[in-house]
């Protein structure tokens, strides 16, 4: 049992408002860990701090045993830690296929000289990434919209593309911020199946989700956050039965 991601005593405030007040958590390698908590608990902020969007004020973050507290987003991605966004984001004028290939890692053709003068390694990598992108598109049923611009996708397709991007990056760990929010139940089930398959392939997943059915079905363990701290951690049944968790969601009994 090894910890892939360790967060200790992470703090972060915005203009004096403490959003993270000393978060301690660890995500086991190979697990599909759920992260739940009422709105405003600091879940998304924790993702933003861990993924390098903004630095933590204090505390430490370790990924694969290495300190990454101050690491930039692109360094973390290259190290194998990838994230998705709560509101699906994309590059509006890039096609779905371009999105997928773009997220492939280790493309030597992204060097200026290799791009200008041509390099056999870049061509081979482009070929391989292209094939992988087609396979990912097939897996996510995005084949029919490969040449569409991201701006022209439906909400559900954008959510699928978020997952496709994460897949292309060949990550060791994915931080998923509400991948099923706002999609129809059928698509949500499909996305859940994708996540389970990904996890079975060895990718560690940390999942923020508000649909408790999904959390119960997919996640073990479940971490509960409230008011900028980790409240408790455990199996779904144990966590759901915890009176402190019920209090955090429903308010204190008087």
């Amino acid at each position: 049992m090894t910890e892939l991601l360790e967060v200790s005593a992470a703090t972060r405030a915005f203009y004096g408002v403490e959003v993270l007040r000393g978060v301690d958590l660890a995500v086991r390698k190979g697990s599909l860990t759920g992260l739940i908590g009422p709105n405003g608990a600091g879940k998304s902020t924790l993702f933003n701090v861990v993924s390098g969007l903004y630095p933590a004020d204090g505390g430490a973050i370790r990924f694969k045993g290495a300190d990454v507290t101050r690491a930039a987003p692109d360094e973390l991605v290259r190290a194998g830690l990838v994230r998705s966004f709560q509101l699906a984001r994309g590059f509006p004028k890039l096609s779905v296929f371009q999105h997928l290939v773009l997220h492939g890692r280790d493309q030597p053709g992204e060097g200026l000289a290799a791009a200008l003068f041509g390099s056999a390694a870049a061509r081979r990598r482009e070929q391989a990434l292209g094939e992988k992108a087609l396979a990912v598109a097939r897996r996510l049923k995005l084949e029919s919209v490969l040449d569409n611009l991201a701006a022209a996708l439906s909400g559900g397709q954008k959510k699928l593309l978020e997952i496709g991007r994460a897949l292309m990056a060949e990550p060791e760990m994915i931080l998923l911020d509400e991948p099923m929010a706002g999609v129809n139940p059928a698509l949500a089930r499909e996305i859940a199946a994708h996540l389970r398959a990904l996890n079975a392939e060895g990718v560690t997943i940390l999942l923020i989700e508000h649909d408790m059915g999904v959390i119960r079905e997919l996640c073990d363990p479940v971490i509960v956050m409230a008011e900028g701290r980790v409240l408790t951690e455990g199996g779904f049944a144990a966590v759901a039965a915890d009176p402190r968790v019920q209090e955090a969601y429903l308010g204190r009994r008087r």
Partner: protein
């Protein structure tokens, strides 16, 4: 008339190079560089001064490219945290600084008198008419070479990553791209191309002075890229030639209007230019050659 046409087309080639430079940094990486005239001036002065000091013309052009690269690095370094409007303001300021330095540092640039007698390659051997034709061909060939190189870049993984930076630089970092490096590269290469255009200009007219590098040039080049198609090198190439031909054509068009004093004709010309920019933006905002994302390969 032929000489006039050749002159116009040569200037067209120089604008095409400027448009290609702008398209790389603006259409490619999303950096609004209003300092184009500044890099153009840096190249023109670098080559004029180097060849004036006795260097061969090719060395002068090399010096212009180097000076452009260096200026590009400096400006990128000074504007690391800026984007959009703020970057535009600072780069516009850079161009004005270059012009004012050229105007005031008389020991180097001879101030408002300008540097005259910039050597024109093979002018003695070819004669005036022959030289003009030779230079037109040379500029067109260089513009086409630069176009081919930039087209290659545009379609490469580098170009794709740069466009990701253009669309959303934060998200590009979450795609694992080295955003800063891409910005540096795009800006520096663009500045070098603009400087080369400046050197070609200096050795064509044989005279450079601060007056040649007014911010209006940058605006015309933006017009060229917008009309040609932002994000597509072919659009910049065609747009550069197109805008110069159009600017010259407005002289005749305004001149043909009866009952106007010469001052009014000049004003009418400006009006026509402004109105046509509005028309382009309104009727075809994506430009004549709109950006086209490459199609996904199909497996059998």
């Amino acid at each position: 008339m032929l000489a006039y046409l050749i002159f116009t087309l040569t200037i067209g080639g120089i604008y095409a190079l400027l448009a290609l430079a702008l398209n790389l940094v603006w259409g490619g990486a999303g950096l609004v560089n209003l300092g184009l005239a500044g890099f153009f001036a840096v190249g023109a002065y670098a080559s004029a001064l180097a060849t004036g000091a006795g260097a061969p013309i090719l060395i002068g052009w090399g010096a212009a490219i180097l000076a452009g690269l260096l200026a590009g690095f400096l400006v990128t370094f000074a504007t690391l945290r800026l984007r959009d409007d703020y970057l535009a303001i600072v780069t516009l300021g850079f161009a004005e600084i270059v012009r004012l330095v050229a105007l005031n540092e008389r020991w180097l640039t001879k101030g408002a008198d300008g540097v005259s007698g910039v050597r024109a390659p093979f002018k003695a051997e070819l004669g005036v008419a022959g030289f003009n034709f030779f230079y037109l061909t040379l500029v067109a060939a260089i513009a086409c070479l630069v176009w081919l190189a930039l087209r290659r870049l545009d379609l490469s993984p580098w170009g794709r990553a740069a466009k990701a930076v253009r669309e959303d630089q934060e998200l590009a970092r979450f795609a694992g791209k080295r955003v800063l490096r891409i910005k540096f590269e795009a800006f520096a290469v663009s500045a070098a191309i603009a400087a080369l255009a400046g050197a070609l200009y200096a050795h064509f007219t044989s005279y450079v002075s601060p007056d040649h590098f007014q911010p209006l040039i940058t605006i015309y080049v933006f017009l060229a890229v917008t009309a040609g198609g932002v994000g597509r090198p072919l659009g910049a190439l065609v747009g550069g030639y197109g805008v110069v031909l159009f600017l010259e054509a407005t002289r005749f068009l305004a001149g043909m209007t009866p009952g106007l004093a010469p001052v009014q004709v000049a004003a009418l010309r400006e009006i026509v230019i402004g109105a046509s920019l509005l028309a382009v933006l309104h009727l075809r905002p994506q430009g004549v050659f709109a950006e086209r994302p490459p199609k996904a390969p199909r497996l059998p």
